[in-house]
Each structure stands twice: as structure tokens, then as C-alpha cells.
């Protein structure tokens, strides 16, 4: 159990908890979409400090977690090629593929680099004209403008040794898929603040109207998350369904126009597989046809690579809020962050990893009970 004094403003946190307690007269299930929010919630024990009637469901908003195994296998296949320098964000590099992992590929001579900014990959391509530099472009809408910029610059600078392996995913179609699923238990959504800082909030109004579900744009610091929950509960109790922005200091309704224009130029909407969930129509971006020359899948002929998920792993149910991580049989046994079966255990933004890091001792029975 965590305590209020771990919040950076315990007094404000207490007021928010009290207000939620006062408002909540019925049972509500609220999904936080963003993995950063999940991390905040579990780390600070927000779900444990809330009244029992409020359940938080941890959504699919961790890009590492929803990238299909088949895409990881494509990445590993490309990374193993002798002419390739393979670049990725650090957290993606930790995800094992179906046959081998990156560390094995590196020990067999693969050249794999961690980048902080996607522009580091473009720089590497310029510095190594004799090598093929491939950037693993994954993420939600927040990461798309930086990733798109690599293609724009590579095109502008005439780089022929640069390409991208794209597996971008989009939040609104995922919310729509959850809303229209017959098993969905979600009464309200906390939308991901930084996704909205790029895309604005205008995409969410139609979802609110179509499914009569409150959507509150929320930041990911613990107090932001609490405020988002408070506003969602207030709407639910009042029988309202509105789009509300609880993160106005960062998010505007229009979003970032320059970033949207770049996305529009470089990417186009496509259907996407989500790990553990399956295909969601129009839920991702791929390179637009005019940049097909920069498509690593075409350049290295890996378009057909695919892989089945581990049969033990229930991350799909975790991502849809149908079970909590510790209800998976493999949690903490066959599946740990060092030997993850599913991607939700790999990334620190994944629900299984967050539970393992902060909650394992509470949820996995220990043999000798010492209170």
C-alpha cells in the first residue's frame, strides 16, 4: 500500500481523493489509455487509494506493448544483415522476438544502436555512406512527427542508405474498437495528453457522441491522473458524456499544425495489427506511397515475416482491461521482466511490468505470511 505523502503535493492529492470519494455513488470503470499514466497509477498506488467503487482499467497505450511479434521479427531479421546499422529507441530493443533476441543478434555481429532522437539515425546514415542505416519507427501520434522528420530529411538530403521500418499506431481507432467491443466494461476514458499535444482534441468529440462515453484528456503526472479521474467521475455521476481537457497547460484543441502537416506528408493511414488485440481498421500509419523508397520492409524483403504469440500470454486480455496482470498464470513465474513472454512485461510502461515492479509482493502469495 502506498501513501499520500508520496505525492509531490500531498495536500492537493488528499483534496482530489476526498472529492472523488464524495462524488462516487456507484461503481465505475475508467480506462487510462496511456502507458505513462498506467506507470504513474501503479507506482503511486492511485488505484489502491481510490474508493473501491472506482476501478481503473489499464489500456493499450504503450507502443512497445502493442507492436506485434511479427514486426519485432522483421526488425531482428533486418538487424542481422551485415550491411545494416539498426537504430531504435532503447525500450524497443528489449523486446524479444519469436526465435531469438537482439542480444543474440548482436553477439553474432549485428550492429544495433540506441538513439535518443530519430535524427541520430539520419546522422549515422550520413556518417556511414557505405552502410545501410535502418530506423525502427514505432509509437503513437506523439512519436510520429519526429519519426516522419527522418524521412523528410533523408529525402531532402538524397540519402540512399537510409530507410525506416514503420509500425505506427493511433489512439482514437483503439478507443473506438474498445467502445464497440461487446466485452468492453469501460465507462469513461482518460485520453493520452501528449498524443493530444500533437493531434489536438478534435478527433475525440465524434467518439464521445457516438458512444456516449466521457473522454477526459489527461496528463501523466500523478496529480494530473487524479484530476482526470475526478472529472470523469463527475461526468459519469451527472449522467453526462463530454470531451473535457484536463491538460490545458499543454494541449490545445487544434494540436500542433506543423507536426500534423509533416505526418500528413510522410504517412498514410492503414489497418494495423495490435499485439494481443488483433487487427483494428485504420488504426495505424505506414509510409505514404511517395516515400516507398525509404520503406525498409520493401528494401530488405521482409514484408511476409509473421509470428504467432505465446499461447501462455494473456496480454490481450490485460490490454483490454478484462484481467489484471497478476491474474495471468504466468505472471512472476514463467514471465518476468528478464524473461518476458509478452510485451506488456517488457516495457516499463506495460501494465504487467508496472505490477511486477511495484505490486508483486502484494499480489503474488508468499509462502510465509508476515503481515
Amino acid at each position: 500500500m502506498r501513501f499520500l505523502d508520496e505525492f509531490n503535493d500531498p495536500e492537493l492529492a488528499r483534496r482530489l481523493f476526498d472529492e472523488i470519494e464524495r462524488l462516487a455513488t456507484r461503481e465505475w470503470a475508467i480506462m487510462e489509455v496511456c502507458g505513462g499514466q498506467t506507470h504513474s497509477i501503479i507506482r503511486n498506488g492511485i488505484d489502491q487509494l481510490l474508493p473501491d467503487s472506482i476501478e481503473l482499467i489499464h489500456g493499450p497505450g504503450c507502443p512497445v506493448c502493442v507492436t506485434p511479434l511479427g514486426v519485432i521479427d522483421k526488425a531482428l531479421e533486418i538487424a542481422a544483415l551485415p550491411e545494416v546499422i539498426f537504430c531504435s529507441f532503447g525500450d524497443m530493443l528489449r523486446v524479444p522476438g519469436s526465435q531469438h533476441d537482439l542480444f543474440q543478434i548482436r553477439s553474432e555481429g549485428g550492429d544495433i544502436r540506441v538513439v535518443y532522437s530519430p535524427l541520430d539515425a539520419v546522422r549515422l546514415a550520413e556518417e556511414h555512406p557505405d552502410r545501410q542505416v535502418v530506423f525502427f519507427a514505432i509509437g503513437f501520434e506523439t512519436t510520429a512527427p519526429p519519426n516522419a522528420m527522418t524521412v523528410h530529411l533523408a529525402h531532402q538530403r538524397g540519402l540512399t542508405n537510409f530507410s525506416v521500418l514503420v509500425s505506427h499506431v493511433l489512439v482514437p481507432p483503439a478507443i473506438e474498437a474498445l467502445c464497440s467491443s461487446p466485452t468492453s466494461r469501460v465507462d469513461a476514458f482518460l485520453a493520452a495528453g501528449h498524443v493530444c499535444s500533437v493531434m489536438g482534441t478534435w478527433q475525440y468529440g465524434p467518439l464521445v457522441d457516438a458512444y456516449q462515453v466521457p473522454i477526459v484528456v489527461t496528463g501523466f503526472e500523478p496529480l494530473d491522473v487524479l484530476d482526470g479521474i475526478r472529472r470523469a467521475v463527475a461526468q459519469l455521476e451527472a449522467g453526462e458524456a463530454r470531451l473535457e481537457n484536463a491538460y490545458e497547460r499543454v494541449v490545445s484543441s487544434a494540436g500542433n499544425a506543423a507536426a500534423q502537416a509533416m505526418i500528413e506528408d510522410v504517412f498514410q493511414v492503414c489497418d494495423r495489427q495490435w499485439r494481443g488485440i488483433g487487427e483494428i481498421p485504420a488504426s495505424g500509419w505506414r509510409l505514404s506511397d511517395r516515400y516507398a523508397d525509404f520503406d525498409a520492409e520493401l528494401r530488405f524483403g521482409v514484408s511476409d515475416v509473421d509470428a504467432p504469440e505465446s499461447s501462455l500470454c494473456r496480454s490481450g486480455e490485460v490490454l483490454q482491461g478484462l484481467i489484471k496482470p497478476h491474474e495471468c498464470e504466468a505472471f512472476g513465474k514463467e514471465c518476468t521482466p528478464r524473461a518476458p513472454l509478452g510485451a506488456t512485461m517488457v516495457s516499463s510502461e506495460g501494465a504487467c511490468a508496472a505490477y511486477y515492479q511495484y505490486r508483486r509482493l502484494d499480489v503474488v502469495p508468499v509462502e510465509v505470511g508476515v503481515g
Partner: protein, 98 residues
Amino acid sequence: MCLAVPGKIVETRDERGTRMATIDFDGIRKDICLAYLPDIEVGDYAIVHVGFAISKVDEATALETLALFRELGVLDDELGVTGGTVGGPIPDARGGVR
């Protein structure tokens, strides 16, 4: 990957037609791209995501967020300080949960 960290713009420059900046995140300096915030100036605070400024924030908000990230121990992670050298080879140990 998904956290975005606020920092203060300390210098701007043009690099082959792309507007770039040096930004200070609570003492850690990084080069970032300003292509998506063309109007931002030295002294302003911006939220930065994987090396790109994506939205402007006021100073008070920025400082509060930075202090919190430092406390939560996520700052170095997000800035890639613990993820091996930028552009360098991956670190030896498998990271697991941070």
C-alpha cells in the same frame, strides 16, 4: 519512450535549413529539433519528446514537472542517459524494468 520532458531553450541555430536548439533539462543539455515549434525563442520552455519540441509550456509548469521527474528517477531514462551512449552500441545488460 512516451514521457515527454520539459526543458529551457538556451540557444537556437539553423542546421542546413532545420531549426535546432540546445535545451537544458534540469542540468542535462541536449540538442533538439524546433521544426514543430517554429516560433519558440531562447528562454522559453518546451515539452520535448524524443528530441523534438512539441509544445510550449510556462516556466512554473515546466519546473514543477522537472522536479517531479527527478524525484521519480525517470529523467535519465527518458533522456537516454542510462540507455547506453546515444548512437553507440546497446548496453550489455538487458534492461528489464526501469
